[in-house]
């Protein structure tokens, strides 16, 4: 089946078969990353601009490496969205980048929906690298890629997402990806950060860590950003940790072969204790490596590459 999409804006809009295509393409690129020369000529001559209006060093570097391993030229800039809202609009900034002959824009933005907006304004592909509290599709793709590596088929597997769900784009994209792949998803955390509205997205909502973790195959932790939420969503980081932090005892409630995931950066001692983060069950660093392969696949496909034509190494 050929790949048709020009943009990658959300997981919500993808069909299950499209997720499978991306994952299969990523698997081929993942093998490239194990080679001595980690480079294929797929996007040679193309210029990709990483427009990061909400700074994120990790995601930006991952996209940058993915673009370079595909032989694209890549230009990145981190700027706070406020510097553009001060004067130039997102439309003007992006149209300028397009006029400079960029072939693709990877957008990180603090406002939900801005990649969709940009895709309507521009003629070139737009890849969403995280928009507000909406979606972070490549993160979810690398997460399910990693889960499949460890667990195989996700159908019927029990995945628990723990933490700040309300403000998390990672959670939303993962909920869409996991439910499309047939996993059984429970979201858990304080009621103010895990509102019942999420049930409409096909997940179970729980505020009881013990029952939620029982028999889990995957525990995905999210970063707690107390400073972002103001004062009203939970009392303190200390209280959060005492109620919902993943420590040695609580980690024993999951299945023995369960894996522990985190999109990073980790607040050690807050949402997760160090001994758990560094334990053999943790796949946090594999997630990072897989992220490059998944982003290579996304850039490659949105640039017009086809899943079945993956690629000989550059000599």
């Amino acid at each position: 089946m050929p790949w048709h999409r020009k943009h990658l804006l959300t997981i919500e809009e993808l069909k299950r078969a499209e997720i499978e295509q991306i994952l299969a393409t990523a698997a081929a690129f993942r093998r490239v990353l194990d080679r001595k020369v980690k480079k294929v000529p797929a996007l040679r001559g193309k210029t990709i601009v990483n427009l990061f209006l909400e700074p994120s060093t990790r995601t930006r570097i991952s996209f940058e490496m993915a673009a370079k391993f595909l032989s694209a030229d890549v230009i990145s800039f981190d700027a706070s969205a406020s510097s553009t809202t001060k004067g130039e609009t997102l439309r003007d900034t992006a149209q300028n980048i397009q006029a400079l002959n960029a072939d693709m824009i990877v957008l990180r933005h603090a406002a939900s929906g801005s990649p969709l907006y940009l895709s309507k304004v521009l003629g070139i592909p737009v890849v969403n690298a995280g928009d507000g509290a909406h979606e972070h599709p490549t993160q979810a793709l690398l997460d399910v890629f990693t889960m499949r590596e460890k667990l195989g088929d996700l159908k019927g597997r029990k995945v628990v997402i723990l933490g700040d769900i309300l403000f998390s784009r990672v959670a939303r994209s993962n909920i869409h990806a996991l439910t499309k792949l047939g996993a059984d998803v429970t979201i858990v955390g304080p009621s103010t950060l895990v509102p019942h509205w999420f049930e409409s997205m096909g997940v179970r909502v729980s505020h009881n860590l013990r029952t939620a973790l029982a028999d889990a195959d995957v525990v995905m932790l999210l970063r707690i950003q107390h400073e972002r939420q103001g004062v009203s969503h939970f009392p303190s980081l200390g209280e959060y940790t005492s109620m919902f932090g993943l420590n040695y005892t609580r980690a024993s409630w999951v299945k023995p072969d369960a894996i522990i995931m985190h999109p990073g950066p980790i607040n050690r001692g807050v949402e997760i204790d160090s001994d758990i983060a560094d334990s053999p069950r943790s796949v946090i660093l594999q997630q990072v490596t897989n992220g490059i392969a998944v982003r290579m696949a996304v850039l490659y496909l949105c640039a017009g590459g086809q899943p079945e034509q993956v690629l000989t190494p550059v000599e």
Binding site: G113, R172, W197
Partner: protein, 429 residues
Amino acid sequence: MPSLIIKNGRVIDPASKRDAKGDVFIADGKFVKTLTPAQKKQAKVIDAKGLVVCPGLVDIHVHFREPGQTHKETILTGSQAAAAGGFTTVVCMPNTSPVVDNAGTVALIKSVAAAAPVHVYPTGCITVGMKGQALAPHGSLQKAGVVALTDDGLCVQSNELMHRAVEYAKMFGLSILDHCQDESMTEKAVMNEGVVSTRLGLKGWPHAAEDIIVARNIILSRYTGAHIHMQHISSAHSVELMRQAKKDGINVTAEATPHHIAFTEDALATYDTHFKMNPPLRTETDRLAIIGGLRDGTLDCIGTDHAPHAPEEKDKEFDYAPNGIIGLETALPVCLDILVKKSKFQLSHVIDLMTRKAADILKLPAGTLTPGACADVCIFDPGEAWLYNTYGAFSKSINSPWDKQTLTGRVKTTIVSGQVVYQNGKMLV
């Protein structure tokens, strides 16, 4: 000014319980029972065969942006949009720049409005600078000519200040209009809180934040006897609170907008900023409750909340776009569609909501065809389908969710004080 005869129309004037085929006579800017033979000879005749002839529409909630933001709208362009929509009387909100918290700004607005094609009444602020901290000079504002007080766009957060405001304004016979929003619950919120905001990752504005202020205002009205009018009600629970308050005989009124009866939060699925408004579009339950409130009289009238913004201001990331849409040129066809066609209201009931009942809230001299009244008339074809295109329409702004849609029901002629100001797509003054 020549006399006017509007012939053969279906004349609907809920104020005088008239709904029948007939003629309407106008002399010297007023409705008259009939014309003298001499007047008849010279009179201009408008043939309204197949059309509805009703009082000029009344909107007690518009934003005309003058002074200060005339790139969005001026009193003149806003009034032209009103005339094109069949409105002959509008009440404009005081959140201009500067805000209308002093007699000088009222005088300025009145002097500009004197040249407008429709009757434009200013309102003044409840609080100085709309800051919610100190009472504006209600007495001086009333003397200068405001017809009500409101901090619309914002809501007076202090219960004590609101208590004193309604008590003080009552002395001057001024109603307080309130935009009901507990701001502590809606910081950075851009749409209704619920399943859609959750899915879109947008900050939600819970209807409870409106309900709490509606309840507060009902309590304050009961306590002081002052009249408080709730602007643009958006939630089912607020409708319920109003229903009980009216049963209890409390001196409160409320309005609904065409957009809150036409759309729900589902319209935001693609982050289209033309559906971003405050209060936000809510659920189907809320939408139906508002229609129910209009049906049984719990909600008193339709107000457009005509809120012009320049295209580049709406052409933005959803979080950064301003709230509000224009509505004067689309209100009548939208209400005909949602209320008459889809909700089986009598046509005369909808006209009542847009004329007499709206005027009565602020005791404005408008909203009837009764002899002696100011001759403001709207003549429309309830069945004509037409393409609404904001380019080429009369408002200076184009922020309408109905842009390029086919609407049914079209204003043919608008008459203000006996003068034809708008006819067949053209402004005549």
